[in-house]
């Protein structure tokens, strides 16, 4: 590593905790969310430097885009209520101040924890098992050439299977709260703006093409179902925000089926492969590439739909309810 690279790494490594600190102690919540989005951008750069372009891609989509939109949505939802209740307009700030004794009592154990962790991570023994070459061998046997995708869908596919399960569960939990949609607070001139409509018209095909490209690229280079799903999910979020999609997303049965599709296809492939080869998700010879691509395709669709549903928080209408 050159000296310039070392300085850049130092700057990035320093700015992450500083940004986290500033975001969490910012006076009002808008500022906190803006700093959170900036933190996401810096994080993506750090991962680029750490040789993890897959994660940089996912962070660029999820950290800076979707999580930021989620937080802004919630902050907006909270303060709208306050305007109606005629409370102080700066309500979303933290009104509970802790006395210095409490702060000190928290600082001491946190400092000890941080010191211990720092000592632990710096004195790690060298790895006993040579994971990269083990994975390399396993990947060489398989038909997917990008190691991270191979790990996700071949080598440790049950992790990914459970993960789409977690997404599904989160969507069900959010629906069970029975929240109403956050309504737009934008002035007429903004929400009906032809510029915004034109922007979405330009954005939609670009996002669909990028999503499909990332999905296709995932087998041989960084990219894959998560990144593609995140990009398409962001498109869903934008369409909900601009009113092109109703918050309940459409007919209840269709939405529910779409959410469950990724999980169901994964499960089906797992069970069928278990019947064929004896191991859960142990793909039979020769079908590996096709099966992984099929799983990835349905996963992308379900991840995108789930992210949109998590944003709207409104359960789909029952049959005949209309939209």
């Amino acid at each position: 590593m050159s000296f310039a690279g070392l300085v850049l790494d130092g700057l990035l490594a320093l700015s992450l905790p500083v940004l986290a600190w500033r975001a969490l102690s910012a006076r009002d919540l808008y500022r906190a969310v803006i700093l959170f989005i900036t933190f996401g951008v810096i994080l993506a750069l750090a991962w680029a430097r750490l040789g993890a372009p897959d994660i940089a891609l996912a962070e660029a989509a999820i950290g800076a885009g979707i999580t930021g939109a989620l937080l802004l949505n919630t902050v907006g939802g909270l303060s709208r209520k306050n305007d109606k209740d005629d409370e102080r307009p700066d309500e979303p700030t933290d009104r509970v101040g802790r006395p210095w004794r409490t702060r000190l009592a928290v600082t001491v154990p946190v400092t000890i924890l941080a010191g211990g962790l720092a000592w632990a991570v710096l004195s790690f023994p060298a790895p006993v098992v040579d994971m990269p070459s083990l994975v390399g061998e396993a990947v060489a046997e398989g038909e997917v050439s990008h190691p991270v995708t191979a790990v996700l869908l071949d080598y440790r596919s049950y992790d990914t299977f459970l993960e789409i399960g977690v997404l599904l569960l989160a969507a069900l939990c959010v629906w069970s709260l029975g929240l109403s949609a956050v309504r737009s607070t934008a002035p007429e001139a903004v929400s009906g703006s032809p510029v915004l409509a034109g922007f979405v018209r330009l954005l939609a095909p670009a996002m669909v093409v990028s999503g499909v490209y990332l999905l296709w690229a995932g087998t041989s280079q960084p990219g894959g179902a998560f990144q593609a799903g995140a990009v398409l999910g962001a498109l869903g979020v934008v369409m909900v925000l601009t009113g092109l999609l109703v918050p309940s997303l459409g007919r209840g049965g269709v939405v529910r089926a779409g959410l469950a599709l990724g999980f169901a296809v994964f499960l089906l492939v797992g069970v069928v492969s278990m019947l064929a080869t004896g191991g859960f998700l142990a793909y039979p010879e020769g079908f590996e590439y096709g099966l992984i691509l099929a799983i990835e395709f349905f996963l992308t669709f379900s991840i995108a739909l789930t992210l949109t549903a998590l944003f709207t928080t409104v359960p789909p209408r029952e049959k005949g309810g209309g939209a």
Binding site: L24, L50, L117, L310
Partner: protein, 108 residues
């Protein structure tokens, strides 16, 4: 100090800062942001660990990718719970010890 060491320490620092803020701040959205960033600190740590050898280890990368998606769904759920609490009680704080409503001013 190598680049990897700097990122390892950075991850630890992010984790510690967020752990402090998680306890000290009362507003629930701040707590949600703190937990999300705490996760990011752990992800930085994992990615830096993957970088220690001569070759980059893809297993932590896959774990972090899974983690990012789980983190966004957990954050979305937490924010929905905050909104529900706000709808029900009118404020986004948990009741402090020994009282039902949040205190108005700082200090105490």
């Amino acid at each position: 100090m190598s680049s990897v060491d700097m990122y390892l320490l950075s991850g630890v620092a992010v984790f510690a800062v967020c752990a402090y803020a998680l306890v000290v701040h009362a507003h629930l959205i701040r707590k949600v942001i703190a937990i999300n960033m705490m996760g990011s600190g752990v992800f930085v740590l994992l990615t830096a660990i993957a970088r220690r050898g001569d070759e980059t280890d893809p297993v932590p990368h896959a774990m972090v990718l899974t983690g990012i998606v789980v983190a966004v769904s957990a954050t979305a759920f937490a924010l929905a719970v905050v909104r529900k609490l706000h709808e029900a009680t009118g404020h986004a704080y948990l009741p402090e010890e020994g009282e039902d409503a949040p205190p108005d001013g700082g200090g105490g």
